[in-house]
Amino acid sequence: MELLTTLWIQRYMVVSVLLFCIGAFSLVFNPNLIKKLIGFDLMDNAIYLMLTSAGYIDGRIAPIVTDFSAAPSAEHFVNPIPAGLVLTGIVVSVSVTAFALALVVRIYQKYHTVYLDVIMASMKKEVD
């Protein structure tokens, strides 16, 4: 029971780690290059989910000051830093994904397949 409670409290982290593992597994072991990249995105998004949840505090609002009459107190707001990190991270992973997809297109034009094992086999044939 205690374990279940802990898991429930840490639910974002549990889900993130599961997603990360699925993504990493697919990145390493799936022979399909497109699926590898999907795995990579899943992996990164899992981390962003975890970062976002790290900054979220129940019952608090986004750190945007609307009432200027009183001095704003940090007590009302969630932690904005993880959100900033996630935004930066999303930019990074978008550019990496774009680059990798362009590379896959190029490889498809050369080898007419997106399966890495087939490509490796045909490369070996070229050498022989």
Partner: protein, 501 residues
């Protein structure tokens, strides 16, 4: 008002990023190269100047890169070690591009040549950032910039094998940076900080209090493994020979000499600035690095012995040389870490020398890279032959060359480390013999005169290295020798620098 030299680290990074952006609108490849060379020479000079100020007093400082004050803002940290590494990286980048310029213009399509230099600018900028940054997330962002730029350098040749090598390299790299990011996220979860120095304070408290020991272990594992994946430590080296062996000469030199080192410098900072060296050792992180470093030294050399393709052989030798660095990190203590950094410098100068010379020797043998065709290549391309010989002898560890200094420092540091001494000394002995077993036959092969009618090879003319490549080869060879001769003062400089981390 801050003194002028405080701005050197920040402006090195920003200047190179701006250079990259501006280079993308220069259409001529030659112009782009001239711009890149000017900027990297300038950055190298600026960092040497910074080193000359910081080294005598052993001074180090932090620089707020933005308007927010200490615990919130982004920070750079500079000391003699960082300045020395930054200056060396800029110098090696300059020489790699200069030395391989002819091949770049042959291998890369004419209208894309300026983009090649954009990637070189970005790699150097991200290396500077990894050396100087004091902020975990900034380090992650620059890791990714470095990854993309390095992959672009591999695929610059745009042939089938380079594309496949690139995608394999990219996949490994993405896994590595993903692990680093996950480790950083866990760190943020349990410490609430991103600046290495604040994380370190919290880490000390957490470890002393005995809570969160499992997360700390996981963080250590993730960050270490991420960086090991990206710096091709055995058994994660499988992508390296393809990526480094098939790319154009400059790319191979830059990837082996610089890109791998950036991640190791970052790991050094993670060990010393984020966890604290004693904590890292308490969790047996050092012993794991030591074991894998040992394995890399042996396996890399054994695989290199089986290679007949000269560039792939040199690439496998990189796997072994990276093993030396990890052996130094794993032994623990300031002297061993300084030896590891010394190996970073020596390898950064020697490996590009070998790649540039191998490229020239192959070009002098009708662009064939198999050992068989390279017979007598040293007589056709004298300078490249001499350069290759110096590089190879340095890798084997002949006294007065850089490689010997590293082995001496590592052995010296090992003497103070108990049972690890035997492992380290055995690794050094085995690896030296193995290095000699594949580098000496290569050297003999390139200097063996071919008798007429002895084989079916056509008679090849003398090869002219070109002025730029000649300068690069002479400079890199000179640096390899200087690193061997002046090892005492340089070793002291690095050892003091490590103490200030």
């Amino acid at each position: 008002m801050l003194p002028l030299y405080y701005h050197v680290p920040f402006f090195s990074i920003v200047l190179l990023m701006m250079t990259g952006i501006l280079t993308s609108i220069i259409h001529s490849g030659k112009g782009a190269m001239a711009f890149h060379l000017t900027m990297s020479a300038f950055v190298c000079g600026a960092n040497l100047w910074l080193l000359s100020i910081l080294a005598p007093e052993g001074e180090c400082f932090t620089y707020a890169a933005g308007i927010l004050p200490h615990p919130w803002g982004n920070e750079l940290a500079a000391g003699p070690l960082q300045a020395a590494l930054a200056a060396a990286f800029a110098a090696v980048m300059f020489l790699c591009v200069l030395g391989g310029s002819r091949e770049i213009f042959e291998d890369v399509e004419a209208e894309k040549q300026n983009l090649y230099f954009v990637m070189c600018d970005l790699i150097l900028a991200s290396l500077m950032a990894m050396v100087y940054t004091n902020d975990g997330f900034t380090a992650y962002v620059f890791i990714e910039i470095n990854t993309i730029a390095a992959c672009a350098l591999v695929m610059a040749k745009d042939t089938g094998p380079t594309l496949v090598a690139t995608i394999r390299y990219l996949m490994m790299s993405l896994l590595g940076s993903g692990m680093f990011l996950l480790g950083l996220t866990f760190t943020y979860y349990i410490t609430g900080h991103l600046l290495l120095i604040n994380i370190h304070e919290q880490m000390e408290q957490i470890i002393a209090s005995g809570t969160y020991l499992i997360p700390v272990t996981v963080i250590m594992g993730l960050m270490t493994m991420g960086m090991c994946l990206k710096s091709a430590l055995f058994p994660f080296h499988t992508w390296l020979p393809d990526a480094h062996g098939t790319a154009t000469t400059s790319s191979s030199a830059i990837l082996s000499g610089l890109v791998l080192k950036g991640y190791i410098v970052l790991l050094l900072k993670v060990i010393f600035c984020l966890f604290g060296e004693a904590n890292y050792r308490a969790f047996h992180g050092g012993d794991i690095l030591l074991a894998f470093g040992f394995a890399a030294m042996v396996v890399g050399s054994v695989r290199a012995m089986g290679e007949t393709h000269i560039k792939r052989m040199i690439a496998y030798s990189s796997v072994a040389q990276i093993g030396y660095i990890y052996l130094g990190l794993g032994l623990g203590g300031r002297a061993a870490a300084a030896a590891a950094v010394y190996q970073i410098l020596v390898h950064a100068f020697t490996k590009p020398l070998l790649f540039l010379c191998a490229g020239q020797l192959a070009a002098a043998s009708g662009h064939r890279k198999q050992m068989y065709y390279l017979r007598g290549a040293g007589h056709r391309a004298r300078l490249a032959g001499i350069g290759f010989t110096i590089g190879a002898l340095s890798m084997i560890g002949l006294p007065l060359l850089g490689g010997f200094a590293v082995k001496f420092f590592l052995a010296d540091a090992a003497l103070a480390s108990g049972w690890r001494m035997w492992l380290a000394l055995a690794a050094l002995a085995i690896s030296s013999v193995l290095n000699a077993l594949y580098y000496l036959p290569a050297v003999v092969q390139i200097w063996t005169i071919r008798e007429h009618g002895e084989d079916d090879l056509p008679k090849l003319p003398r090869f002219s290295p070109g002025f730029a490549a000649a300068i690069a080869i002479v400079a890199l060879a000179a640096c390899s020798i200087l690193l061997g001769i002046f090892c005492a003062p340089l070793g002291k400089l690095l050892s003091d620098g490590v103490a200030l981390l």
